[in-house]
Every structure is written in C-alpha cells, then in structure tokens.
C-alpha cells in the first residue's frame, strides 16, 4: 500500500449524543484519547454533531478534549450515516487526524466503516484495549469466540480508525478547570440531497438500567435450564436490586432476549457485584464480565472455569441454590 503517514496528527473522538446527552462511551473514549495523546504528545479533538448541542462542548473539554468541533444543524437532528460521513470526512480531509475513535455502539458500528471506506483507510472494530506503539495505534480485540486475542494495526494508511466497546475503558473524573477551544463546522448539506429519511423512532421504554451501567448483575447460563429458570433469576435480581444478564446459549435458546447478552458478542459489564448462575465461564461470556469487582459463581460442576474467575463459589445446582438464596433474602427483608 502506498505510504501516507506524514503530516497526520491528533486524535479525534466522534461524540455520540442522544437527545442532547452525551453517551457514556464517548466520555470513556475522551479520557482514553487524553491518555494516549499525553504519551504521544498529541492533542484531542471531540467532534460533536447534532441539533442544538453546543452546550455539551464544555463537558467534552472537562473530559479531556483540547478542542471541540461543533457541527450543528437541523439536518443533524437524527443520526444519519450519509450526513455524519460527509461532515466527518470533509473535516478529516482538511485536518488529517492521525486517529479517529468511535464507540462500538449501533451508531459507531454503522458509521466508522463507512468513514474508513471513504477515507480509504483501515477500520479496527469492537476493540477492548488501545495502545500506541512505535507511532501506530494497536487495537486489541477478542478473536473467534475463543480465549484468543488479536492485536490489529493499520501500519501505513491514515487516519487509523477504531471502534471501542462501551464499558471496557474506565471513566475518568471530569476536570472542571480544563480549558479548550470550540470551533464551528459550517454545514452546507441540503435535506433534499439526503437519501435516507428517519420516518419514525420507536423507543422501548424500560425501567431497567442499561446492563453496562448496572452496579449489580445476576447472569444465567445454560445451567439455568429453561425460560422458567430465568424467571427465578429475575426474582433474585429484583431482591438484590440487580439487572439480569445471560450468556450466549440461553439467548440462542430464546429463554431471554438479545439485549441481556454479556460477552464477546454482547455487552461488557463492570458491576460491583456479579453473580453467575449455571454459567460455565467460557471466554465468549467471561470476556464481557471479567471487569466485575466481586464475582460469585454458582455451579454444580466443580471443574467449571467460572470458579477460576470467582471470589466466592457455591458448588450446587442453581435450581436448588437460587430458591434458597431467594428464601433467605425474603426472610431478611421481612417478606417471608
């Protein structure tokens, strides 16, 4: 591939906001970009796109941005691939950032590869770790649903583009005395030229916290045995003030829906308490929960890998142990 590493500089974080509120992964990425920029003596740009979003800029500076590019327009009310790609690529061709980071959200996974194709560069997706080595971004990601990791690089083409999973980077505290500059991007797109229209949005109102933000998670694996088994876990979760999670197979079996999936192809969590029930501890799942602070495993197989990850284990059948825990918790709460 022809070399084009010269004259590129700076890290960009593409900010995702919903209804004027910054999505957590964007803040996580700003902290990470700050740390990478400090080691590489570079700078951080937050790229903020939306309608009436300028008020967010300050928060982005507190979180680590040296400057914020603000692209505001009614055309940006809803995320649309074409609009965001046009704005980001036009500015990238001018500014030549060395690295562009996206959260591996629905938006980031839709947008980052499109941007990479327009800029004719590489995209490294769903990374769980970033580093800079010899001037290159090294992006680590789990590989092939096994306990294998791979380090991916984009050695020649610039910018280097990566999407990073929500929850894998610890959120840094905002520094409210940080200063930075804001620039506004002049949007010249016309609504008539945009090929995709957002004809409606159906929000699924949920009283539950997103799994990634839960302080406690009760997760079930194949050992739970059935849909009814998951009802029992829900009850346990309710008593603990925890959210429900699952490994791959119960989702494939249809016992719980996709949004509960934790692991390589699901969510990454780092709660204070994780209780794995009938979870074997296969890498597909454990890669998404190893950041949990206090891990409890309940399994009838003494050789289950989950016990190697746990702080406490209970050797026993989940269908006997969980009802006993539920009974004890109800007793303590005076629910008898």
């Amino acid at each position: 591939m022809p070399e084009n590493t010269e004259k590129f500089g700076g890290l960009w974080v593409i900010i995702e906001q919903r209804h004027g509120k910054v999505v957590k992964v964007s803040l996580e990425l700003l902290g990470e970009a700050r740390a990478l920029a400090d080691t590489a003596r570079s700078n951080v740009t937050a790229f903020l796109i939306g309608e009436d979003v300028a008020a967010i800029a300050e928060e982005l500076i507190w979180q680590g941005a040296d400057r914020v590019i603000i692209a505001e327009h009614t055309i940006c009310r809803y995320y649309r691939t074409e609009v965001y790609t046009d704005i980001i690529c036009a500015q990238a061709k001018k500014d030549k950032p060395e690295i562009i980071l996206f959260g591996a959200t629905c938006m980031g996974r839709d947008l980052a590869p499109r941007v990479s194709a327009r800029l004719k560069t590489g995209c490294m997706s769903d990374c769980t770790k970033l580093a800079i080595d010899s001037g290159h971004l090294v992006a680590t990601k789990p590989f092939f649903g096994r306990d294998l990791m791979t380090d991916i690089v984009c050695p020649v083409k610039r910018p280097q583009i990566a999407t990073i999973r929500p929850g894998v980077i610890e959120l840094t505290d905002p520094n409210r005395s940080r200063k930075g500059e804001t620039l506004s991007y002049d949007i010249r797109l016309r609504e008539d030229d945009i090929k995709v229209k957002v004809a409606g949005i159906l929000n699924e109102r949920s009283n539950n916290l997103p799994l990634e933000q839960a302080e406690k998670v009760v997760a079930g694996g194949m050992g739970v045995g059935s849909k009814e088994g998951f009802e029992m876990l829900k009850e346990l979760a309710g008593l603990l003030g925890a959210e429900l999670g699952a490994t791959n197979l119960p989702v494939d079996e249809g016992w719980v829906s996709e949004e509960f999936k934790i692991g390589q192809t699901g969510k990454t969590i780092r709660p204070k308490l994780y209780i794995g029930c009938g979870v074997s501890g296969a890498i597909q799942h454990s890669a998404g929960m190893i950041g949990s602070e206090f891990i409890v495993a309940i399994n009838k197989d003494p050789n289950a890998d989950i016990f190697k990850l746990a702080d406490y284990g209970i050797l026993g059948d989940v269908n006997e142990v969980i009802p006993a825990i539920i009974k004890e918790l109800r007793r303590q709460k005076g629910l008898a």
């Binding site: 591939m1 919903r18 809803y78 691939t81 790609t85 839709d110 590869p113 499109r114 990479s116 194709a117 327009r118 590489g122 995209c123 490294m124 769903d126 090294v138 789990p142 092939f144 649903g145 096994r146 306990d147 294998l148 990791m149 791979t150 380090d151 690089v153 984009c154 050695p155 083409k157 090929k195 995709v196 229209k197 957002v198 409606g200 949005i201 929000n203 699924e204 603990l240 390589q264 204070k272 308490l273 890498i283 454990s286 890669a287 206090f294 409890v296 016990f307 190697k308 990850l309 702080d311 406490y312 284990g313 209970i314 026993g316 059948d317 006997e320 009802p323 006993a324 009974k327 303590q332």
Partner: protein, 262 residues
C-alpha cells in the same frame, strides 16, 4: 426487483485450535459453514422475490471450497451464484473484501437492492455492509429487523440501543440484516441435490473484475493482525462453599452483607 446477496463461508469456530508451539491458529480440523446470519439474509431476499418477483444473485468471495455455501444458497432457491475466487483476493481485510465485492456488483450492474448479513460469525466486524455501500455510493440501512417495499421506496425497521428507527430510502439501496429478521427456510433434500447436480456457479477471477488488481487481497488491505495470543482470564482462588443449599445460601447472603453488597 433484482437483489444481490453477499454471503460468506466461515469456519465452525468450535474446531479452531491454538497451536502454542508455533504461535499460529491451527485450522486442520476446521469445518466450514455458511455464516449463520446469511441464511436470514438469503431468506429476506427470497421473501421479497415472492412478494414482488425479480431475480436473486448470490456472491461469495473465498477459496474454491466456498462454492459449498453458494450451493446451499441455490438449494434455498436463489437464481444465480457467483464465486469470487482467485489468489489475488487472498489475505483481504474487510476493506479489500468490500472493494472486490463492489467491483463484482458493478460488473453485474443491474440491481435494486444489495443485502448483507450485519456481521460474520468469525470476524464480527460488521464492516462489509457499510464499506460496500460506500464503494457503490448507496444509502445503507443497517441492522434491519424488518424490510417493507412500498412502491418505489424501501422502509426498514432498524434496531438501535433503546428501540427501533424506521428508515426510508429509494432504490437502489444496501441493507444489512440481523438474525431476528425471519426464520430461514430449510431446503428439501431434493433441492439440495439439484443445487449440486443441475446448477452452475460462475467463477470470477481478479482480472474479470478489474484489470488493476492492486486493491484486492493482502495488497489492498490497510489493517493487519500483528499478533494472536491466548488471554488467560483468571482471578485466583475462589473460596468454594459446599453443602446443603440452605446453608450455602445463608452464608452467601452473610458475605454479601459484610461486603456492603446488599
């Protein structure tokens, strides 16, 4: 309505093993299957053809053995199968793959819709749909859970974090689909036999797509996997509670209480 479906043969990951002595992936025992989501991709195209008529072409890029997944697609009922197979395609990352697919689709020329799975089972990047859409200058409607065609418009229901969005676009368009979009049909034994005995698969080489093959394969791939290693996830030794469920449950609740986790 003419539809192009991009499908992929993937290794059955349960057969993959890590060779510690050589530091490489050992694939000798690897079985190869049709990327699971691609069954849904094919089903989505077949459903649209049933509703509106048209012609379905499936394309796959891979070694000669990738012909198997195209036979499977023919067995499900698609009209034409094209295999992009050439050593110039080898070692392609997602960008080089999308580029080769885009050249093939430009060569086919006539189409209203391109459908891809939202991601492959082995790579799980989800890149090819958006990158292909860019190379073909098409609007992309990703992660679709429903597709509806109304006159000259296509509407999809796109799954996002906190619900769905309804997106509308005109043809031609590129759509990526998830597993929950439909229940793929299972071809009959007879249809599978026919797919092997009676149907033809076109093989296209690099030079059939573009006289300049620089954008293909390893040569056209900006990303490289620099190392592959085993990640040991171990915390240390857990205290294992054994005994009657009532006793262990009580002990656990005590521990959670002590830790301030109740």
């Amino acid at each position: 309505m003419d539809i192009i479906v991009c499908i992929k043969q993937v290794p059955d990951s349960y057969d993959i093993s890590w060779d510690k002595s050589t530091g490489s992936l050992s694939r000798q025992s690897t079985g190869a299957i049709l990327n699971p989501i691609d069954k849904n991709t094919l089903e989505a195209a077949l459903t649209l053809r049933e509703e509106r008529g048209g012609f379905i072409t499936a394309i796959s890029m891979g070694p000669d053995q990738a012909e198997e997944v195209l036979r499977e697609a023919l067995g499900m009922g698609i009209d034409k199968a094209i295999l992009l197979s050439d050593k110039v395609f080898a070692g392609a990352d997602t960008l080089a793959t999308s580029y080769a697919l885009s050249c093939a689709i430009k060569k086919i020329n006539r189409f209203d819709m391109v459908i891809c799975g939202k991601e492959s089972y082995d790579g799980v990047t989800g890149h090819v749909g958006p990158q292909l859409a860019e190379f073909l200058d098409l609007p992309q409607l990703t992660n679709s859970t429903e597709i509806a065609v109304k006159k000259n418009k296509v509407l999809v229901k796109q799954k996002i974090e906190d619900g769905y969005r309804l997106l509308e676009a005109s043809f031609p368009v590129l759509i990526t689909v998830g597993k929950n979009i439909n229940q793929p049909r299972i071809p009959s034994m007879e249809d599978i036999m026919d797919a092997y005995r009676e149907k033809m698969i076109d093989i296209w080489r690099g030079e059939d797509l573009n006289s300049n093959t620089e954008g293909f394969g390893l040569n056209g791939s900006p990303t490289k996997s620099q190392s592959v290693y085993v990640k040991k996830l171990e915390k240390g030794s857990a205290e294992i509670l054994k005994g009657e469920p009532d006793v262990t449950a009580k002990r656990l609740v005590e521990i959670l209480k002590e830790k301030g986790l109740l």
